[in-house]
């Protein structure tokens, strides 16, 4: 359970830092009247959707951290046989990086009021994300063809389950991206589009980061790192 405990510690630090800005030592029973003397203690001024996305990312991170915890606990059992990582995954990773870069492009274009750039970025980002998903399906197919079925070993089961969870999150993102693209298509003004593009970009970067961590886990790269951490702790 170390992955999830580590994640919870990070969340606790973030929440603790935020709470420390909120004057939790105030004596509200003495502070009748205006709050203008204490700027920053009112409601957040960020758009609700942006805060909502932030909270959702915390929930999704918790989910993946738990998958990772389960993975690291299960892999210590004797029946674990690591499966060969299909070379296709490296190509897919590259495509996901391209997707993230394309959305960053769209976001920068949105900030510069360049609607054409936004359209190019969104379409390229969406197309490469779909390519990534297709690539993942092909990787599954290759593994199946090579005899690595979901139930034949826990390493396989985790591989299929975790890549599916990541893929489903990306598909959810594609729905949001599709709605944003449709908004642009219908000729929405830039201020209405900017926030949507920004949120998609944040989510894409998040999913790229999650994917890189998962890839490290599934290919066994993180094992050495975890070993070093364990030695430091014990």
């Amino acid at each position: 359970m170390s992955a999830i405990i580590l994640f919870m510690a990070v969340i606790a630090v973030i929440i603790g830092w935020w709470l420390s800005q909120q004057r939790l030592t105030a004596k509200p029973w003495l502070e009748e009247g205006s709050i203008d003397h204490f700027p920053g203690t009112g409601a957040m001024t960020l758009p609700a959707a942006k805060i909502g996305l932030g909270v959702f990312l915390a929930v999704a991170s918790s989910l993946f951290a738990l998958f990772m915890s389960a993975y690291s606990m299960r892999m210590n059992m004797v029946d674990w046989r690591a499966l060969p990582v299909p070379g296709l995954l490296w190509f897919n990773t590259g495509v996901l990086v391209v997707s993230s870069v394309a959305l960053q492009w769209a976001y920068v274009a949105a900030r510069r009021n360049n609607m054409d750039g936004v359209i190019v970025g969104l379409c390229a980002g969406g197309a490469s994300a779909v390519t990534f998903l297709v690539g993942q399906l092909l990787a599954w197919q290759q593994l199946r063809a090579a005899g690595y079925f979901i139930a034949s070993n826990p390493a396989n089961s985790f591989f299929y389950m975790i890549t599916a969870a990541h893929g489903l999150h990306l598909m959810g993102g594609l729905v949001a991206l599709g709605r944003t693209t449709a908004k642009v298509w219908r000729g929405a003004e830039m201020p209405q589009v900017r926030l949507s593009v920004e949120l998609c970009t944040i989510y894409w970067h998040f999913l790229l980061l999650v994917w890189l961590v998962l890839l490290g886990l599934l290919t066994g790269w993180t094992d050495e790192f975890v070993d070093i951490c364990r030695r430091l702790l014990s």
Binding site: M8, S34, D36, G42, A43, A48, P154, M161
Partner: protein, 591 residues
């Protein structure tokens, strides 16, 4: 003491919060059924949770009939008994208490108490309810599928949960896991709303430290639930894989009826870790809203400010954080390393400190208060006593050496029913008596309310106190029939019969409560806008019940904390949060 005119320049200008675009319903369907108004969604959540909760109540009667009079009711066989305990537990903990506190009270109270027009994502909020309803329907459907609902116990421990010896192995367990997954998806949608509304949609002047403790409790519980429910989600998905696809996440190598099963190498303990990583925070997900609500009930009905407001807030946050590092105290008998047992016993004892602080502060709020023994107050007092009792037995069970012999006995059943069954339900009932006038504009009948309280309160004690004794005798939980054993004395059977009779009476009292809810809706005494003379914003709405958008043209502005009761020098014994400080009493100015 003299009155000096308040300095108007330092006053807060009228609301400058940008108006949100409210969704306006266009037809009966979108106003009452597919509504995006948090108040309607709250009522939908509450009614659905109550309906499925009634099913769980009936299941508890059936279990009690079997335990009290074994052999008399031939239609309850051992399999059914296991199915009843499983469904009773799961429904009560997740589909009733969690949904009612967060989906019901959260939806109704958060926007009103922080001075918002609605939740920030009304459409997602509506979706949240419909996914919850779907989860409830999937759960209820297991009563009608071949093989019936799962009988794995509410903790669904593998490997037995998906083996053929357990009732409901065909469909019951699959639908149960599906329903849990749906519930978590629905809850996440709602939870995002509750958190972001508190963060972003508080009205002008409503600092975090001016929020009523109800909002603090629900807010913190929601944050915890958002982080903890994924653990149940992961566990459910993995078990579903084990059951449907033949993977071996949790399933060790097994021989069943002389046949080697396809599973091998999995770890049942892994499931226990995941389950309790959700399961222990879940206790506080139910308890923290109850803590918050009961603080407000006590303060309002004792006409006194809450004692140690700051400490109450810190305690809520501390409990929320600590509850994530105590989970393995549910697993002392799983064969864990003694050092782990020591660690988790220590954290368990530490979490008792902020909890005890809260109890002291409630008692000190009552101290020399102007206590009105209204029905909500009775339930709040009932909660404190019950919670202290349940908490004390928690100290027993939190220690490894005491827990091991008591594990899986009726003592555990008595403990958790006291602390997270009866105590939160007391708050739920008190809160319904308290806020019903705001929801409907009518008071609940007082006589029926008092009858309901006394039967429920005394009955709960008569049911669960003797259970501790049964547990100390060694009477195991989850047994369909106790059979013949030396430690099962005749007094055990007498007590069991007694408990059953009381349980049926307490159940009857809940029917009186339901009747009261319906009767008062039509015939109750009109309540006016603020019958309890309370300070918090929800009682200051221009209309009762609050209209669409909650507030009239302008959002309220908050000038003070939520507990200005019996302020010296004030005209009335309460000052609403949105009342500007027109005059200010200055201590010692005359001297």
């Amino acid at each position: 003491m003299v009155d000096v005119p308040y300095d108007r320049i330092a006053d807060v200008p009228p609301a400058e919060v940008p108006e949100v675009e409210l969704y306006h319903p266009k037809s009966w369907w979108t106003q009452y059924v597919f509504s995006q108004d948090a108040k309607v969604i709250a009522i939908q959540y509450s009614l659905t949770a109550t309906a499925i909760g009634l099913v769980a109540l009936v299941l508890s009667w059936l279990m009690r009939l079997q335990l009290g009079f074994p052999g008399t009711f031939s239609f309850i066989d051992a399999n059914q008994y296991l199915q009843f305990i499983t469904m009773h537990g799961m429904i009560m903990v997740i589909y009733l208490l969690t949904a009612l506190f967060l989906g019901g009270f959260g939806n109704y109270l958060i926007p009103l108490m922080v001075g918002a027009r609605d939740m920030v994502f009304p459409y997602v909020n509506m979706l949240s309810y419909w996914v919850y309803l779907l989860a409830v329907l999937v759960l209820a459907s297991t009563f009608f599928v071949p093989g019936g609902p799962t009988g794995a116990g509410w903790t669904l421990y593998p490997p037995q949960a998906i083996l053929s010896g357990t009732p409901g192995q065909d469909w019951g367990i699959i639908l149960m896991l599906t329903s849990l997954i749906l519930f978590i998806i629905g809850f996440t949608m709602g939870g995002l709303n509750y958190v972001v509304t508190v963060l972003q949609a508080r009205t002008r002047g409503m600092t975090l430290m001016r929020m009523p403790l109800t909002v603090w409790g629900i807010f913190t519980a929601t944050v915890m639930a958002l982080l903890a429910f994924p653990a149940l989600f992961v566990a459910s998905v993995m078990m579903l894989f084990d059951r449907l696809l033949g993977t071996s996440f949790f399933m060790p190598a097994l021989v069943e009826m002389g046949q080697q099963l396809k599973y091998g190498g999995g770890s049942p303990i892994l499931f226990q870790h995941l389950f309790w990583f959700f399961g222990h925070p879940e206790v506080y997900i139910v308890a923290l809203p109850a803590f918050g609500i009961v603080s407000d009930l006590i303060s309002t009905h004792a006409r006194k400010n809450i004692f140690g407001y700051r400490m109450m807030v810190w305690a809520i946050v501390a409990i929320g954080a600590l509850s994530f590092i105590v989970w393995a105290h549910h697993m002392y008998v799983s064969g864990m390393h003694p050092t782990f047992g020591f660690f988790f016993a220590t954290t368990t004892l530490i979490i008792a400190i902020p909890t005890a602080i809260k109890v002291y502060n409630w008692v000190l709020t009552l101290w020399r208060g102007d206590i009105h023994l209204t029905v909500p107050m009775l339930f709040a007092l009932g909660f404190i006593i019950t919670f202290v009792n349940g908490g004390l037995t928690g100290l027993f069970l939190g220690n490894v050496v005491v827990d091991v012999p008591l594990s899986d006995t009726m003592f555990v059943v008595a403990h958790f029913h006291m602390v997270m069954g009866v105590a939160p339900i007391m708050v739920v009932l008190g809160a319904i008596y308290h806020w019903y006038p705001k929801v409907t504009g009518r008071m609940l009948d007082d006589w029926m309310g008092k009858f309901h309280f006394w039967v429920t309160f005394l009955g709960a004690y008569l049911i669960f106190f003797p259970m501790h004794y049964l547990g100390l005798q060694g009477v195991p939980r989850r047994y369909h029939d106790l059979g013949e054993a030396a430690f099962i004395t005749p007094s055990v059977h007498t007590l069991n019969a007694f408990i059953t009779v009381v349980a049926l009476i307490v159940g009857f009292a809940q029917m009186v409560f339901l009747f009261n809810l319906v009767w008062s809706y039509f015939k109750g005494r009109p309540s006016g806008g603020n019958p309890w003379r309370a300070t918090t914003l929800e009682w200051q709405t221009p209309e009762t019940p609050p209209g669409h958008g909650n507030w009239g043209k302008e959002l309220p502005v908050v000038y003070r904390w939520a507990y200005d009761y019996s302020v010296p020098g004030a005209k009335e014994d309460f000052i609403p949060q949105n009342q500007p400080p027109a005059t200010r009493a200055v201590q010692g100015a005359a001297t």
